[in-house]
Subunit: 376 residues, 2 copies
Amino acid sequence: MSPPQQIFAAVVGVGGVGKAFLAQLDFVRQRLAKQNPAIDLRLVLVRRSTKQIASKEFSHLDTNTVLKSLESSNEALPSFEDTVQHLSSAPGRVILVDNTSDLKLASTYPSILARGVSVVTPNKKGFSDNYKLWNDIFTAAANGSGPSTNGYVFHESTVGAGLPVLSSLRELIDTGDEVTRIEGVFSGTMSFLFNSFMPVGGGGGAFGAEVAKAKELGYTEPDPRDDLNGLDVARKLTILARIAGLPVESPTSFPVESLIPKELESCQSGDEFLQRLPEFDGQMDSLKAAAAKEGKVVRFVGSIDMATKSVKVGLQKFDVSHPIAALKGSDNIINFYTKRYGSNPLIIQGAGAGGDVTAMGVTADLLKVVRLVQKN
Amino acid sequence: MSPPQQIFAAVVGVGGVGKAFLAQLDFVRQRLAKQNPAIDLRLVLVRRSTKQIASKEFSHLDTNTVLKSLESSNEALPSFEDTVQHLSSAPGRVILVDNTSDLKLASTYPSILARGVSVVTPNKKGFSDNYKLWNDIFTAAANGSGPSTNGYVFHESTVGAGLPVLSSLRELIDTGDEVTRIEGVFSGTMSFLFNSFMPVGGGGGAFGAEVAKAKELGYTEPDPRDDLNGLDVARKLTILARIAGLPVESPTSFPVESLIPKELESCQSGDEFLQRLPEFDGQMDSLKAAAAKEGKVVRFVGSIDMATKSVKVGLQKFDVSHPIAALKGSDNIINFYTKRYGSNPLIIQGAGAGGDVTAMGVTADLLKVVRLVQKN
């Protein structure tokens, strides 16, 4: 029997998603050892903003030991360039797991991929920033138009966390279906907020108070304006539109409705913003009343119309019987309207945020790369 | 530049799904030629029950020419064993596309896989018959516990047609999530039938008449008893349960409710059955009335409870606000309840039957194999 094939994982970012990913990586290693002993998957590097632990000899690092060492280490942080250099000298294929939301790091994907290192990540930046970066990434990737000796790139968790959104869209397109429209609720925060503000069947609190409640419950970013400005949803729509074939230049090159009132754009802090937001409850109440009059509810959605090549993000009214209206909690829902699926869309629904489900998408992507680089 | 890597596709079965698959294969070949010229995917054999067209030299066969030749050919049909022998002599990896519903053919998967030939198929028989066959298939497959020189096997379209049901379930398990319950409507026929018989909001016709209407509209098998006996759904549940880790012996080893009244089990023909079915409308009407009294509707569902290891198929009542009640047309819906997804399940919904969407799952599986066997 030949010795097992070594595959090396390097992890950048150990926040909520990063820690959940490391736990899942432990599970995956144990499972592979039992079910596929021909593969020896090793964790060889963990890096965060100020520190890094790496095995020079590409031996496996124990997750718990690494996390403790990261806290106690006093070693100077090597440059990211030096780290990539080190990784590309590994005696086997390397998978870089980018659990950050760093655009600068994402900008290096093309050169990382060209060196044969694969990338799996929930980081939206590389795929939703300027169109040139998107093109450079997929020109370099082995699963784009790069040679098969280059790295692979997967980023399922950039839209809908672990929900099989991007893989499903790619399958529709790869097999020749014609996507006509994509529509959905792409933000757990916005989902929770509008399901509370205007539940089907009536009720719900004032908008300002609901935002404050959502923040308290941990459903928003530390500064809720980062959710309410719509940019997070716009980034996800940019990614979907590009996969569907629209060369969207950036997440600001199509209409995005911000829920931050003009008058509050100059607020100095998130707290000041939250305090003043209730002054504008009247505007949201009128929207709510207008929708209710038509038997509808208001939701914050993103949509892509392929015929008119239009992408937009903002408030929209939905009939109470529409699946988008019936969404619960902080769930995401994505509707793919296609030629083959006809009048009833292909729907994917479920939690679209949270450390565990986001990490799950990353881990599943890692397993895809492991299978692709396995020698046969 | 090295010459492109040849990968050979052989298709068995050219009914509705088979024809749709061949059209999609044409699309895929054209797309690969543009986007991945390192791969030369060839159609080298098409077989149906009485005839076969094959290229002895493994050159590509034009789809339309093959379909015409199949009609006019007078050549004797070689044995399937000889055909597999021929295929395994190909100068590269071979993918057998089984578009039949033949158990005998499915029983040969283990030996086909062991010879390095991959299998992609919407044929439920190999995965839902006796547990030994299931085990033999995955013991042989490169994506089971077989060596990576063996063939790969994928069968996404055996449950929910092209909907990403099996791939999603496998990802949940492969990344260490704990599935607690799976519940859904797994038959387009049953979906259409109950959405018509008892729509949310009231109305709907008598059961016997609705079955006759469904048959007329082409939503049932030629003999509607093949839908109403529940076996098709039981086969799908068997597959899901096995992937989830329950060693279900066969689709008859758990409770399956048949909608064929005892008294009509002896009917000689589907027509006689359809004619007499209205005699039993009263029973279905009482069920309907009882559900309505509780504010619920009746649906024909399958469910798997992992804690109690129980699988069952039959009628169940659902609150009108439940996603299963709100299903439309002949759509399928699958709810995965897991530890990570918490109280709101991961939901996948959409058309679960029809030539194009079924073939799409098969074509997507074929592309998975192409990527896995691509040299790197």
